[in-house]
Amino acid sequence: MSQGPILELRGINKSFGPVQVLHDVAFSAYPGEVTALVGDNGAGKSTLVKCIGGIYPIDSGEYYFEGERVQVNGPRDAAALGVEIVYQDLALCDNLDIVQNMFLGRERRSGLVLDEDTMEEMAAKTLAGLSVRTVKSLRQQVSSLSGGQRQTVAIAKAVLWNSKVVILDEPTAALGVAQTAQVLELVRRLADKGLAVVLISHNMNDVFAVADRIAALYLGRMAAQVKASEVTHSQVVELITAGRSGELGLKNGNGAAS
């Protein structure tokens, strides 16, 4: 694809108190492509994603969406742009059912009353559109679902809104082989539908299986963002562990900003 990025971040800085977690990070996501975001534990992947989703305010930096500079001050702003995030800690309410979770915070109503029927129909359609057939009833509580099913619900929740960018934070971390394959298939399908998908994963096999681009974070700095076809497994591993690999990566591996 020769399109420009739909989502682009430049020079993002984020600190928690005295600890600076993100340093001058640049990141882009392209429509129709899966961009893998990789990095060691604590590299700042989840933090970056939460900044994109408006969960954490950024200290400084620029946020572009479809080429326009935008301000994202909260989850609702991100959602309004069409950016949806499936969090590492799933953020589903166990005591609510599938439909209720999928529409949480954005319930359909007619007048004062919740329009349960329309919500159920839309949820069913979305799940069918993703070729999900593993859930028995849309009205079963999320607490009764398996890990893979929960992940599916969380992903379906993210695409329900005709979203343009879907970000998945380690969607396969807790899954078995078969369920991982299912979720990865789902991820690929989302991109093929034209969405920009960002996938965070520690598993290089998963990354190379579905990703078109790879962005590697190293100690809160963006070491490199490259096409998946142009790098090897070991290069990516080096980027993750040392911040550089040959020509690629940070000029000074130990992180003094370039």
């Binding site: 969960i55 909260g74 309410c93 166990d94 949480l104 398996s146």
Partner: protein
Amino acid sequence: MTTETLPKQDKADSAIGVHVKGYFERVKGGELGALPAVFGLVILCVVFSILRPAFLSAVNFANLFTQGAAVTVIAMGLIFVLLLGEIDLSAGFASGVCAAVLAVLLTLQGWPWYLAVLAAMVTGAVIGFVLGSLVAKLGIPSFVVTLAAFLAFQGVVLLLVKDGTNISIRDETILAIANKNIPPVIGWVGLIVGVVVYAALQLLQARRRTARGLVATPMAVIAARVVTLAVVAGAAVYVLNLERSRNAAIVSLKGVPIVVPLIVILLVVWTFVLRRTAYGRHIYAVGGNAEAARRAGINVDRIRISAFVICSFMASIGGIIAASRANSVDPNTGGSNVLLFAVGAAVIGGTSLFGGKGRALDAVLGGAVVAVIENGMGLMGYSAGVKYVVTGLVLLLAAGVDALSRKRAAATGRR
């Protein structure tokens, strides 16, 4: 069209099986719902009526309602706070403060009843707003905030009613709430209207869902629900419409106590809010996973504060009912066992102390259990001391069932 009707008919038949099976699966999985409360209620009623036949008399039956009304109403408000996994220990004395405000304005200041009632309710709402803000904005645990308020409100009641005296209530309208009945005919009309509206709503919903190809509640289940409601409520109205006066020639005493329709209206309103509005959905969401709710763009602080407002507001209504029933307000109004009974009622009814689970109906079911225990043991001549101990044990039992069913739910993957 015709080709489609046949398989649908087929589906409807097996739908009953699925519905019933689903229910049993949920119960086995630890979602006991109303089961323990209904079960307890039946057993208690049987035991008491065998030991003390007077328990079954129409007079006593009417007593049960007026006796349990205040606690039930307070419990209904508490459920909102409990749904968030918070607690309001001050709800009892908040009702006392509101009752004292009512009494002072009504009796000492000579305000008309509606203004005094309004003032009491506003007092309740303001109390809730302050408590909720302290919990949500400052982040003080609700246990501590409301424990402090518990103590402070006890003092406020004392100050309002001037050191230990009591203020009697003479306003006819206020006294009527817990002491007068509605005419038998109106009782019947209300019952019929209620059952018909309930049936119509259920049928309309089922038809709408079937028309859209969604799974609807099977007809047989709807019929069972409507019949149960009609029989239970019908029996209650029938008994309450019997003559209760010892000397009917002089003064007739029959009809449904006014508190009953009052509770029914509150029950319907809060059930609607919890089950049919986005606000209600958000209450459950915050109670189930506050972080998920926040990420879904829900204003969690506002939900927290509003739950405390509803709780204290309902406490004010409970206080008004208590004042009406006692014909007066004294420093103990809303004190002693009121809070424990209200929390007990909610938990016995099936509301979880861990948050995220509960219904407005729980307050009514649990309130009934509490009222039956208090009333039955009173009839058997037990002292207040024994009653407290037993009620305390029942609360513990209910909380134990709650904790165990939660464990069970975790074990069966329902959490």
